[in-house]
């Protein structure tokens, strides 16, 4: 019996007119408490005279804010002394202003708003205050692991945060569990939109791991639209933020073949983990999507299949590719930039200078710098 497969209708049919070129690098000096590869990073270049790059050090609970261009550290925000009862674990943030910073607290699955004195001004539950000690909420609400590629996004008076259900979701729950929380900054309970597409999830496929179920998001040039990339779909899903209606557009790679899932899991299969790893290595898996408003281009990341797994058994030897599309999702081309060992692709963002991707310095293992390579599309 063949494994179920998500076919790529445009495999080997697309023509490239652009490639991605490396045009420079940017480095940011880290203090002795901070390592490269921070989990959550944010570029703010829109309304600021001086574009800022900030990131969260989850170990020392500080947000570091740098001048993006000069690389100088401007300030830090210390979250150690939040006036909260009980433990908290901040995993993501959105800086509206220094008097209005939104934080995601993983322990209680809530969004906190803090003011300039680092006092908590608001607390918004993302589970409608469900009892988190039972598991019933996990089939009604998403789980969040905010990253630079699944970040807080601002839309009018709302913050959007898209999560996931980490394991395989049975069909009856697909419609009950929406992935994106629309968090009202004026204090109303969050509303939820965007379900997993039923053609890929909750069906004959066995996507039973976060590597298949994580969603990656960015805002489209039409501000009322959210673009969602699922790892196992050759399409992107465009969500109307107001109505929650989704439509899909083709956004695949010319070189990606069908993406095969494992067969339904046999719980007694003690080699399931090995099969899962093999499946991940052998298949193409899509990842982050970024819209470049300076050049009207979408970038979509893909972790390419490794064909000869005997020679290259480490999944981090997968090549990282970046697909380029115009703002109507017409294919422009795609470029491989190296392996997953060379790039922390989750920390990527678009600035006026181009697409910034965190580079991993494997030769020196230098942990004193946060390093980015900047890329620009170039006509072939």
């Amino acid at each position: 019996m063949n494994s179920p497969k998500v076919g790529n209708e445009n495999f080997d049919k697309l023509n490239a007119s652009y490639k991605l070129d490396s045009v420079g690098s940017r480095n940011y000096a880290l203090d002795n408490e901070t390592a490269p590869r921070p989990q959550y990073l944010h570029y703010a270049g829109d309304k600021k005279n001086v574009p800022e790059l900030s990131f969260l050090n989850i170990n020392n609970k500080r947000i570091y804010i740098y001048d993006y261009k000069s690389g100088q550290l401007k300030r830090t925000i210390d979250l150690n002394n939040l006036d909260l009862k009980g433990p908290f674990s901040i995993k993501g943030y959105f800086i509206q202003s220094l008097d209005s910073i939104y934080l995601y607290d993983e322990i209680k699955m809530r969004v906190l708003r803090i003011n300039h004195e680092i006092k908590v001004a608001d607390s918004i539950s993302l589970t409608n205050n469900s009892d988190l000690n039972t598991l019933a909420w996990t089939l009604k609400y998403p789980q969040y692991q905010p990253t630079t590629s699944s970040p807080f996004l601002k839309y009018e008076e709302k913050l959007l945060l898209t999560g996931m259900h980490p394991w395989a979701l049975e069909k009856p729950f697909l419609e009950k569990l929406a992935l994106t929380a629309k968090i009202d900054l004026n204090g109303e309970n969050p509303k939820f939109i965007n379900n997993y597409p039923s053609e890929h999830y909750g069906s004959e496929y066995e996507w039973d791991d976060p590597i298949f179920t994580t969603s990656y998001t960015d805002q489209s040039p039409h501000k009322d639209k959210l673009v969602i990339s699922f790892p196992i779909s050759h399409h992107l899903y465009i969500s109307d933020i107001t109505t929650g209606k989704m439509k899909k557009v083709y956004a695949g790679s010319n070189y990606a073949k069908g993406i095969s899932s494992l067969r339904k899991r046999d719980k007694s299969d003690n080699k399931y983990r090995e099969k899962l790893t093999q499946n991940v290595i052998e298949n193409d898996l899509y990842a982050a999507v970024k819209y470049d408003k300076y050049r009207n281009i979408y970038y979509r990341f893909i972790r390419r299949s490794l064909v000869d797994i005997n020679k290259l058994p480490d999944w981090k030897n997968k090549q990282l590719g970046i697909i380029m599309m115009d703002d109507k999702f017409n294919y422009l081309g795609e470029t491989n930039i190296g392996t997953l060992k060379d790039w922390n692709w989750e920390n990527s963002f678009v600035s006026e200078q181009g697409l910034n991707i965190e580079r991993i310095d494997r030769k020196t293992n230098d942990e004193s710098l946060l390093q980015f390579q900047v890329f620009l599309p170039k006509k072939l």
Partner: protein, 154 residues
Amino acid sequence: MKLIYYLLFVLTTAIVLSCSQTAEEIEKEFINSKIDTFEHIGDEQWVVVLPGLGCKGCIQEGEAFMVNHINNKKVKFVLTRVESIKLLEQKTGVKIKEHNNIFIDRENYFELSNNNSIYPLIIELKEKKMSKYEFQSPANGMAFERLSDRLAMN
């Protein structure tokens, strides 16, 4: 909060699929072969493999063990899948590079291909060969304590 994705996807390095061997046999053979070809063993009697990712509580037990026994020359510490040496040094207070009984496994040489890859691994040696091994896991939570006792007796 009970995070149900507590053990997030931990991909393994080696793909070893065999129809004729049990999972335990494959695991034992893998560890045996790794010890046989590991060039950094001197007079140590134990190798402790600490993964950087996996079962948090188990890894914390392993890190605490390393802090307490860092100067014990009978133990070789192997740090595998470490995200940041800088943060590990900060967390443990151990200057990693100053101890020659610590091996930083940058190529994930010791990474197992099964579910046990998320647990610290204790390997007992006899004449530079593996004689026994066990994991510190929720189901086997006393492994480091037993090793501490044995080191105290030796």
